[in-house]
Amino acid sequence: MNELKEKTYKRSHEPVFWGLFGAGGMLCAFITPVMILITGLLIPLGYINRSHFDYNNLHAFASTWYGALIILVLIALPLWHTFHRIFHGLHDLGIKRGRDWQRVLCYGFAFTVSVFIATLLFAMF
């Protein structure tokens, strides 16, 4: 009963990562299954003709600003979702050492790949 002084509270920056996690998770939930179905199964197995996914069409699409943006979001945003889960998953598995480094590595990887994709798309412009 001697806790009369007001406790000090430290704000977490988690909302930034949670926001990206939520957006990525939403995207994954709605569109990733059909993307996998198309690029990973239907096209390689020949159910959808390759001509629908050929170099010229795709390159032309990637060279527009909206095409580049769509591609960036579709590929990079899920990573912000997945690496958030990986970061918290490490804690769930009881790996408590070096939480700061784990954070840097997880979100750093998502960030690096995002920048890599953006650079590739920019070069195709």
Partner: protein, 129 residues
Amino acid sequence: MSKRKPYIRKLETNWWLKTGFYTRYMLREGSCIFITLYSLILTWGIFNLSQGESSFNMWLDTLQNPFFIILHLIVLIFALYHSITWFALAPKAIALWVKGTRIEDSVIIATHYAAFAIVTVLCLLIITL
């Protein structure tokens, strides 16, 4: 003298194997590993796209390898599991009140599945048309 000696149990590292509920949670969280792989495969594809036509076609050829077909099949299963769990939990993160009553969980879930079906059909149409 007090005989109190509280015994503290540590949560074991394999806690998530002990109850089906926890295991399903870990599978849900684990789906992210497969989705990560898929994003990296696509990143690799974009890299090849930027390298020219032959490079890009080589990437498409590689995806025909049975290894990648099976990998994509596994990834698809986990991605669907992610979708199912995401939709199942959606009502907990959404509180919509209309005329003094909260919208039923089942309505929110059904809306998500309807949107999922529309997105899926739309994507298949866009790619084939």
